[in-house]
C-alpha cells in the first residue's frame, strides 16, 4: 500500500482512533464538556455556600416530605428513592446494550421500555419535589437585611405560621392587579399574613421563639430568647415569606432556592431529553432499524448519555442533599 492510500484511509475516516467508533467518541466528547458544565454549577453552589458558610440552610430540614405521608418527618427518604430509581433505569439501560450485543431484539425492546419508565418516574418525582419546595410548609419572616427568621416552640420543633398567627380581618389588603389601577404596576400574590399579624401572634403565644439562620458551633440554627425574638420581629421584620421562588425563600438564603431550581432543573431537563431520545431509539428498535443494520450501536450511544445523567445525579445528590 502506498503512503498516499494509507493517508487517505487514515484521514478519510478509514480507521477508528482509540478503537472507538466516531459516534461513541463524539458522545464521550460531549459528556466531558457537559460534565464541566455541571461542575461549574456545583462549584458555584459551593462558592455561595462558602460565602455564607455560617448561615446556610440544612438540607435535612428542607427536604423532609414524602408523598402521601403528611406530617411525617422523612428527611431524604424520597431523594434516596429517586436516586435508586435512576440507578435502576441505568441498569435496565446497560442490560439493553448487552442484549443489543447479542442482537436480541425482543430483550432490547423490553429493557428500553423499562428504562423510559424509570426516567418518567424520576422526572415525575422531581416535579413533585419542586412543587413541595415552592409551596413551602412553615413560613418565615424576612428581615430588612434579607435574613430569614423562622419559628420554633420551646422544645426546638418548627412551628408553622398558621399555628399561631391569626388574620386580622380589618387590616386586610387585596392584591393590586394592573386592571384595577395603574396599568403598568402590578404585584405578586400577597402573603397570607402581614408582619404586624405575625408580631401579634408571637406576642400572644408565650411558647413560640424565633430561630435565626446563624449556625451554632454544633451546626444547629440559633434560637433566640423570648425577649430577643419579639425585638427582632418588631424592629427588623419586613416581609412574610411562604415557600420559595427566585426572590425569597422560607428555608434560608434565597441563593439556596436559586441553585436548587437551577441545578436540579438543568439535570431534570437532561433526564427529560434523555427520555425523549430513548423513546426515539425505542421506536427504531421496535421498527427493526437496528436489526436490519446488524448493529445496536445506537442503543449503546444513548446508553452512554443516559448513564451520564445518572452519574450527574449521584453528584447532585451528594452536594445538594448530603454534605
Amino acid at each position: 500500500m502506498s503512503t498516499a492510500v494509507a493517508e487517505g484511509k487514515t484521514w478519510g475516516g478509514g480507521n477508528q482512533p482509540l478503537q472507538a467508533s466516531y459516534g461513541k467518541m463524539m458522545m464521550w466528547f460531549f459528556i466531558v464538556s457537559d460534565a464541566l458544565t455541571f461542575s461549574g454549577f456545583l462549584a458555584a453552589y459551593g462558592f455561595s455556600r462558602f460565602k455564607f458558610i455560617d448561615a446556610w440552610p440544612i438540607a435535612d430540614e428542607v427536604f423532609t416530605h414524602f408523598p402521601f405521608l403528611h406530617g411525617v418527618d422523612a428527611p431524604m427518604y424520597y431523594v434516596a428513592f429517586m436516586t435508586f430509581v435512576l440507578i435502576m433505569s441505568s441498569v435496565t439501560m446497560v442490560l439493553a446494550v448487552d442484549a443489543g450485543h447479542h442482537l436480541n431484539k425482543s430483550k432490547v425492546t423490553i429493557y428500553m421500555f423499562l428504562t423510559i419508565l424509570g426516567g418518567l418516574i424520576f422526572v415525575g418525582s422531581q416535579a413533585w419535589e419542586w412543587n413541595t419546595f415552592i409551596k413551602g410548609d412553615y413560613g418565615a419572616v424576612q428581615t430588612k437585611g434579607g435574613n430569614i427568621l423562622q419559628f420554633v416552640d420551646t422544645d426546638g420543633h418548627r412551628v408553622a405560621l398558621r399555628d399561631f398567627v391569626a388574620v386580622d380581618t380589618h387590616a386586610e389588603r387585596t392584591q393590586h392587579e394592573d386592571k384595577s389601577g395603574l396599568w403598568f404596576v402590578s404585584e405578586g400574590t400577597l402573603p397570607t399574613y402581614t408582619v404586624e399579624e405575625v408580631l401579634h401572634g408571637l406576642e400572644a403565644h408565650e411558647n413560640v421563639l424565633v430561630r435565626t439562620q446563624t449556625l451554632t458551633a454544633e451546626g444547629e440554627k440559633t434560637v433566640l430568647s423570648r425577649a430577643e425574638s419579639l425585638k427582632q420581629i418588631k424592629d427588623n421584620g419586613k416581609l412574610v415569606v411562604e415557600g420559595a421562588n427566585l426572590h425569597v425563600n422560607e428555608y434560608g438564603s434565597p441563593l439556596f432556592a436559586d441553585f436548587f431550581f437551577f441545578i436540579t432543573g438543568f439535570h431534570g431537563f437532561h433526564v427529560f431529553s434523555g427520555v425523549v431520545i430513548n423513546i426515539i431509539i425505542f421506536f427504531n428498535v421496535v421498527l427493526g432499524t437496528y436489526e436490519r443494520r446488524g448493529s445496536y450501536e445506537m442503543v449503546e450511544k444513548v446508553g452512554l448519555y443516559w448513564h451520564f445523567v445518572d452519574l450527574v445525579w449521584v453528584f447532585v445528590f451528594t452536594f445538594f442533599y448530603l454534605v
Partner: protein, 126 residues
C-alpha cells in the same frame, strides 16, 4: 465496540460468569453504598463530626463514597473498563484536572468573601 467484557470488579476479587451477572453485581454494590450514605446522613454519628483537613469527617466520607459510585457507573455501566487506555485517560484526566481546578478557585474565593463579611467590613445581620 469490543464485545468481550472484562468480567471482574474490585481488582479481580469479585468475578462474574457473564456480563449480565456483572451488571447485577454492580447494582447490588451501588445500592449498598447509597444505603450507607442515606443511613449516615440520617443518623449523623457524633464521632464523625470532628474536622479532618478543614471539613467534617462525615462530609469526606460522603464525597469519597460518591467518587466510588461514579467510578463504577463509568467503568461498568459506561464500559470504560473495556475502552483503550488512551480514550480512558483522555476523558477521565481532562475532566478531573479541570474540575479540581474550578473547585479550588471557587471555594477559595468563597471562603475569602465569607471572611470579608465576617470581619465586620460589611454588616448583614439586620
Amino acid at each position: 465496540m469490543a464485545h468481550e467484557h472484562k468480567l471482574e470488579i474490585f481488582r479481580g476479587l469479585w468475578k462474574f460468569k457473564s456480563n449480565t451477572q456483572k451488571i447485577w453485581g454492580v447494582l447490588a454494590f451501588l445500592t449498598f453504598v447509597t444505603i450507607i450514605e442515606v443511613a449516615l446522613g440520617i443518623i449523623k454519628p457524633e464521632m464523625l463530626m470532628g474536622k479532618v483537613l478543614g471539613m467534617k469527617a462525615l462530609n469526606w466520607i460522603f464525597i469519597i463514597l460518591t467518587i466510588v459510585k461514579a467510578y463504577y457507573i463509568t467503568w461498568d455501566f459506561m464500559h470504560m473498563r473495556d475502552e483503550t487506555k488512551g480514550l480512558r485517560r483522555a476523558v477521565v484526566w481532562t475532566a478531573i484536572f479541570l474540575i479540581l481546578y474550578l473547585i479550588f478557585i471557587l471555594l477559595q474565593e468563597g471562603g475569602y468573601v465569607f471572611r470579608v463579611y465576617d470581619e465586620g467590613y460589611i454588616k448583614r445581620d439586620f
